[in-house]
Amino acid sequence: MSCQEARELLDAYLDGELDLVRSLEVETHVKGCDRCCLARDEYDVLQHSLKKHGVYFNAPKGLEQRIRSRLRSDKDSQRKHLIPSTFPNWRPVSIAASIAALIVASAIFFGTLLRPSSTNVLAQQVVSSHIRSLMADHLTDVASSDQHTVKPWFSGKLDFAPVVKDLAAQGFPLTGGRLDYLDNRRVAALLYKRHQHTINLFLWPTSQADSEPETLAIKGYNLVHWTQSGMTYWAISDVNASELRDFVRKQRQ
């Protein structure tokens, strides 16, 4: 390697950005070249003075709080989020209607008045349940990787017996179960792990016919929905869609 070539690559070499072969070539040259040795020393001195003289600017105190409050009052991203593309006809409602909406909505939450049935609305519920389970530190009611512990835990709490599979050998270890509330009824929520990610699998009985898995993406989460042998299933996670479909395939086997 010529001196000129070595000088071209010297910074990348010292930064550890060269592949092994190139790296050895530069190293061999530098060892026998005074000019390159000097350039290497200059590099070291510069590194040293940048580190020593503390030229890093840390964020001032209070900036984080100011950002948090601006994020909270940011109407633009909120509004953008309030009008989902699936409801193009949605228009802002008046204050009176908003109050009415709140009453109606709380009635829905208690499951006494109305039964929103479209898949889309249900999918939103699944997303909300998933997020709540992650945030409220309420992931599992029964924490166990043993399907023979999780399954009996549900008996007496549900009007059906969920099938609980442990998929640890397939890369999706069971971590526990939880009671949840979806589609105006009690449902079983089974928790699985995929690396650092949590998968919620919701299931409950249905009178609907079998359907093949269908993948949806809502607000950064992937969802897979299917119906099989009188049970309806919703799997949701922030793992990528193909991994989640893989999980579903293993569930259905």
């Binding site: 990348a12 950002i67 948090r68 601006r70 949605w90 929103p116």
Partner: protein, 188 residues
């Protein structure tokens, strides 16, 4: 109607959860964001404004961020773009189009001089960095202060890897030269 209202209430909850997730993902990188903005804008107040604006922009485009990806790089890219917009609007002439000059700054150090550089106090170092062309300055900040890889820097700057390599190399040489000169001035 009821479906729409119901949807509004749930999306509102989803929005809050999304904002929380956003905060957990990118607020830990606040120092990195501020440091970059501070070095690119050149003063505290503008850096604060730019950082706040960057976080708002980032929140609005959070849907494009895939979880598990490099959140610091993603945020820094937004910060950098916001800085450039700000610089264009507020400084006009300050952002000059960068031109790769064929010439490399000539290195002229012998041993006693490199010792001088080592003694340069942090003010001198800061002034020397501030005096650098912005294209050299940003790669230096990202590499030396944030410790990012060439690949990460290339992604933030949207330039080829080789460009990162050459800008960094030239930026360092120019910085060495400025430090050398300013340290000598300080001595005399």
């Amino acid at each position: 109607m009821t479906e729409n209202i119901w949807n509004k209430v749930t999306t509102n909850a989803v929005w809050k959860a999304r904002r929380d997730r956003f905060e957990q993902t990118v607020l830990p990188h606040l120092n990195a964001a501020y440091n970059l903005a501070r070095w690119l804008t050149g003063n505290e107040q503008d850096a604060e404004d730019v950082v706040q604006e960057s976080y708002l922009r980032a929140l609005r485009s959070f849907d494009t961020f895939q979880s598990g990806r490099d959140s610091r790089g993603w945020l820094l890219k937004v910060v950098r773009n916001t800085c450039y917009t700000w610089l264009r609007e507020n400084r006009g002439k300050t952002v000059t189009q960068f031109q790769e000059s064929g010439q490399e700054p000539q290195s002229t150090y012998a041993d006693p001089e490199t010792e001088l550089i080592e003694k340069a106090n942090s003010d001198l170092v800061r002034h020397a960095i501030e005096a650098l062309n912005i294209e050299y300055r940003e790669v230096l900040i990202l590499r030396e202060l944030e410790g990012l890889s060439y690949k990460e820097i290339a992604h933030i700057l949207e330039v080829p890897l080789g460009t990162v390599m050459s800008r960094l190399s030239r930026g360092r040489k120019e910085l060495q030269l400025r430090l050398f000169e300013s340290t000598r001035e300080a001595k005399t």
